[in-house]
């Protein structure tokens, strides 16, 4: 059963289209992330689900109830959608204490006083903030404000929790820590969560599924692994990480466990790559190779490779755990990552290979 269902949802501002034709079904207990660069429409989509923004086309349903359908002139205001939301600025009300902030959703619902106290204390325990209950809200640190915002969103046990870039105002270390804490909390409570971020590491680490968006359109919906290793188009491949993309022609293709294995021929190299569909001989494709999947060929002979290259090191960046190495192969450049203990210098001749199953072919037409 889909807890949140979007059908062809769009939003235009005059002539400008912010979001276009989004179809999405969010399952119960799922952690789903909208990922994309700023201005891609991810926040607008979240706000349309919240009811803070009206969709101009399509339908939004929450728990099998239509909450917005402009065609039928139907709109349920945000306060009647029973959702919890955490804002990027946290939106902690400065004229209330921590306790009052968290109690607000319950008091609005006219819950009995004793029940309010019990529930607020429970949720403050959950985020380990009970000792700060009487603190005026402006006296909190960024991380504490973020916890209070989460507590406020959870306190009335909403069916869906919405989060709009909740970690982006924190520093890097705290961001990782808060992200992990939040993921654990989410799994413990089993609450359906919609999350907006532009940070791909965050999206990978937290999500069950990721919705990649660009220019108001959904590019791909899938698990973090699918998004990373099996992107459906070049835009997704290039947004997540910085892969090598090599132009090539298909020589032949064959079934391989529900995917297809292609023999491809590039400029001065050839080998195999996996793809999601079959191609006819002579068709152009893009072959995506992630830098960490390029390995140095040792003295032992390598077996089961997709591709092999021989090139000269032209650039070398030390990054602590790894070296980022650029090698020139014929007319193109490849980047690869090597353990930083490797001995390598500019001008070295390197033999590198791509292990079988890690080169991924995409439609060449989708380039751009």
């Amino acid at each position: 059963m889909a807890v949140v269902l979007l059908e062809n949802v769009g939003r235009t501002y005059g002539a400008f289209t912010a979001v276009e034709g989004v179809d999405l079904a969010v399952n119960k207990g799922e952690f789903l992330t909208f990922l994309g660069p700023s201005g891609c429409g991810k926040t607008t989509t979240l706000r349309m689900i919240a009811g803070l923004e009206r969709n101009t086309s399509g339908r939004v349903m929450i728990e099998d109830t239509v909450v917005s359908d402009p065609a039928a002139n139907w709109f349920v205001p945000p306060e009647r959608r029973q959702l919890g939301m955490v804002f990027q600025s946290y939106a902690i009300w400065p004229h209330m204490t921590v306790f009052e902030n968290v109690a607000y959703p319950l008091r609005i619902r006219r819950m009995a006083k004793a029940e309010v106290t019990r529930r607020v204390n429970d949720v403050l325990d959950l985020i380990e903030m009970r000792h700060l209950a009487d603190r005026p809200a402006p006296d909190l640190s960024g991380g504490q404000q973020q916890r209070v915002a989460i507590a406020r969103a959870l306190v009335f046990e909403p069916s869906v929790l919405l989060l709009d870039e909740p970690l982006s105002n924190l520093d890097a270390k705290l961001r990782t820590q808060m992200g992990e804490e939040f993921r654990k909390l989410q799994q413990r409570l089993g609450i359906t969560t919609l999350y907006v971020t532009h940070d791909q590491d965050e999206a990978m680490a937290l999500s069950d599924r990721i919705v990649v968006m660009q220019s108001g359109n959904v590019l791909q919906i899938g698990s973090p692994q699918q998004i990373y290793h099996r992107p459906e188009n070049l835009a997704v491949a290039q947004f997540v990480g910085s892969p090598n993309v090599l132009g090539a022609r298909v020589q032949s293709s064959a079934d391989a466990d529900g995917l297809y294995r292609l023999n491809v021929q590039g400029d001065g190299w050839n080998g195999t790559a996996l793809s999601s569909r079959s191609y006819g001989p002579g068709e152009g494709v893009h072959v995506m190779v992630r830098p960490e999947n390029l390995r140095l060929a040792g003295t032992a002979p390598v077996v089961d490779t997709d591709l092999t290259f021989k090139g000269t090191v032209t650039d070398l960046v030390f990054r602590g755990a790894i070296y980022s190495v650029t090698i020139a192969v014929a007319s193109m450049h490849l980047t690869l990552e090597l353990p930083s203990a490797t001995t390598v210098a500019i001008g070295d001749e390197l033999d590198v290979y791509v292990p079988q199953g890690t080169a991924w072919a995409l439609d060449a037409a989708a380039a751009g």
């Binding site: 803070l52 306060e79 939301m85 009300w93 400065p94 004229h95 607000y104 915002a149 406020r152 919405l162």
Partner: protein, 589 residues
């Protein structure tokens, strides 16, 4: 409203951190001698503008004779304050100020909410129209309303009699009602300008998260929006009350003829309407009102302490707009009605009044342009217009330069003595115009012979500067406060020296605020009456004083002509300001 978030410091922190860092100015002025000389000059100028007239007021209140004559010292001036009559005057003053504040704050919140947060049609033009009264001198609208609401021959009463066929009187502006109505018109617009910004600058997610927590739009307004605005509204309430106590024109035009006295008109009467001006009583009363003012200001500080919620985090927000449905035409009508009552009616009266031979006799046969001719042939008027123009341009420029320097020193340096400078520059704020005028009257008269300020146009200029400085400092402090220190430092790091940084970065970024402040100071001088009336001398009259004299002489028709010309000037000026500045200011000012 697009804004420039990257120019503002620390826009992510929910509370702006008031850290004081060393600036390039510090390093520039690191030569101690130069800095000390500069600070001494600035302090001396401010002492002369603020502290000197204040101390002369105290001196005058204990001196039995007029300035310059020989007398003795006693406390009889203060003794004479404690009469039943004076207590009643104080009661009147407080009562009028309270009622007009109540009326205007309600109107201002309503108007600000309509224009900032609803989908009322034509909000942009409405806002310009509604704020127009702010730029019209109060004595002009007072004169217009004096004619409109005249109980015998006022247009409103005549229209009423014509419509009903009776001979009743529905409005008499020479009454408590008249004073309060006139005062409320001004303070509504004044408060509106404060409140509308607070409504706009609020982080909309504070309200959105309330909606997401299950609160309705109505409930959110009272529990969140209104509560967050409460500090601003309290501050405005006190500000409006203080201005109500200081108000002069409303009580002068409508109270004096009706025998309703307030503190400011009582001071005015003591000096101008006695055969021998009673300076001691007037200064004692002035000093007493100053004490009352400072108590109110202390109260304001107490109330606001720790209540500054900083809902303004420096981002360019798109405030949440509420859909009113068909009611949006009701709110539109309400705004239009306010504009009609405060601008169209008075201007209409001036137009009509200027074209008929005698005020109150509206017969087509009486149409004439004689009054225009009379005005253009009046040499005294031309002189007054020239004086006013010169004083307004020169005074506004001088006030803003002084204000910019004071604001820079207090906001962006860590020099010793900057707190004293801040306090001195703010001191005139609690002095009503008539009190400041009286203080300067004494101050100039007590200057040693070779400094001939008394009886010259410089007396007016200095008084105007003193009156305008607190506002100019505030505006410029606001402008500097929005610039992060990085902006100055970055310029220095990239090779600009202090002067280049000042010119290319600071001035380039703050000139829109400077221009706004200049326009405010300009109109402040144009409308000034209460201090001018004590400090002008023959040959150095300003328009407001001349018009008041013509009004009391009964030349109402010519007053209408001058009023119209001033109004035209104001509208042109406002339009130019709007057209030239608004685009650039929106982000910064």
């Amino acid at each position: 409203m697009s804004s420039a978030p990257d120019l503002r410091s620390d826009n992510l922190s929910p509370r702006r951190i008031a850290s004081v860092r060393t600036t390039v100015f510090d390093r520039f002025a690191s030569s101690p001698a130069g800095r000390v000389v500069g600070m001494l000059l600035l302090t001396a100028a401010l002492l002369f503008l603020a502290a000197y007239p204040l101390s002369m007021l105290l001196y005058g209140s204990m001196f039995t004779a007029q300035p310059g004559l020989s007398g003795t010292f006693d406390l009889s001036g203060y003794g004479r304050l404690f009469t039943a009559h004076n207590i009643a005057i104080l009661g009147n003053t407080v009562q009028i100020a309270l009622v007009s504040t109540g009326v205007s704050i309600t109107l201002a919140v309503l108007l600000a909410w309509i224009l900032a947060r609803t989908d009322t049609p034509f909000r942009g033009p409405l806002e310009v129209l509604i704020t127009l009264p702010f730029f019209i001198p109060p004595f002009l609208t007072a004169m217009a309303w004096g004619m409109l609401g005249n109980p015998q021959i006022g247009v409103i009463n005549m229209v009423w009699r014509w419509m009903t066929g009776t001979d009743g009187t529905i409005i008499n502006v020479y009454s408590y009602f008249g004073i309060i109505w006139h005062m409320a018109q001004y303070s509504t617009v004044f408060l509106f300008l404060f409140i509308v910004d607070a409504f706009r600058a609020m982080d909309p997610s504070l309200e959105e998260s309330s909606r997401m927590s299950g609160a309705s739009a109505f409930s959110t307004f009272f529990r969140i929006t209104f509560m967050l605005m409460l500090p601003v509204i309290t501050a405005c309430w006190l500000l409006s009350f203080i201005r109500g106590v200081e108000a002069f024109e409303s009580a002068l035009f409508f109270g004096l003829p009706a025998g309703i006295d307030v503190v400011t008109t009582e001071i005015y009467k003591a000096i101008t309407q006695n055969s021998v001006p009673d300076y001691q009583f007037a200064t004692a009363m002035s000093f007493a009102i100053l004490v009352l003012m400072s108590l109110l200001i202390l109260l304001r500080w107490r109330l606001l302490r720790g209540k500054n919620y900083q809902t303004v985090t420096g981002k360019g927000y798109n405030p949440r707009i509420m859909r009113l449905g068909p009611f949006r035409w009701v709110s539109f009508g309400f705004c239009l009605l306010f504009f009609f009552l405060t601008v169209v009616l008075p201007i209409g009266q001036l137009v009509v009044g200027s074209l008929f031979k005698f005020f109150g006799f509206y017969d087509l046969k009486m149409l004439t342009f004689d009054h225009y001719l009379a005005v253009f042939r009046n040499g005294e008027l031309w002189r007054a217009a020239r004086n006013t123009g010169l004083l307004a341009i020169g005074g506004a420029t001088a006030t803003m330069i002084l204000g910019s320097i004071v604001a820079y020193v207090t906001i962006r340096t860590t020099w010793r003595g900057r707190r004293i400078i801040e306090l001195l520059a703010w001191l005139p704020w609690m002095m009503p115009g008539i009190v400041l005028g009286l203080g300067f009257l004494w101050a100039f008269a007590m200057l040693p012979g070779p400094i001939p300020i008394y009886g010259t146009i410089w007396a007016l200029l200095l008084a105007y500067m003193a009156l305008g400085t607190p506002i100019s400092v505030r505006i410029m402090a606001g402008a500097y406060g929005q610039l992060s220190y990085d902006i100055e430092e970055c310029s220095r790091v990239h090779g600009a020296n202090w002067w280049q940084t000042l010119w290319r970065i600071l001035i380039a970024l703050t000139w829109p605020s400077f221009a706004v402040g200049w326009v405010l100071a300009f109109f402040g001088i144009m409308r000034e009456l209460s201090a001018s009336i004590l400090l002008y001398s023959v040959g150095n009259e300003v328009l407001s004083v001349v018009m008041l004299r013509m009004w009391t002489d009964g030349k109402l028709e010519q007053v209408c002509v001058i009023g119209l010309i001033m109004m035209l000037l104001i509208i042109v000026f406002r339009w130019v300001q709007h057209a030239l500045l608004n685009r650039r200011i929106s982000g910064l000012a």
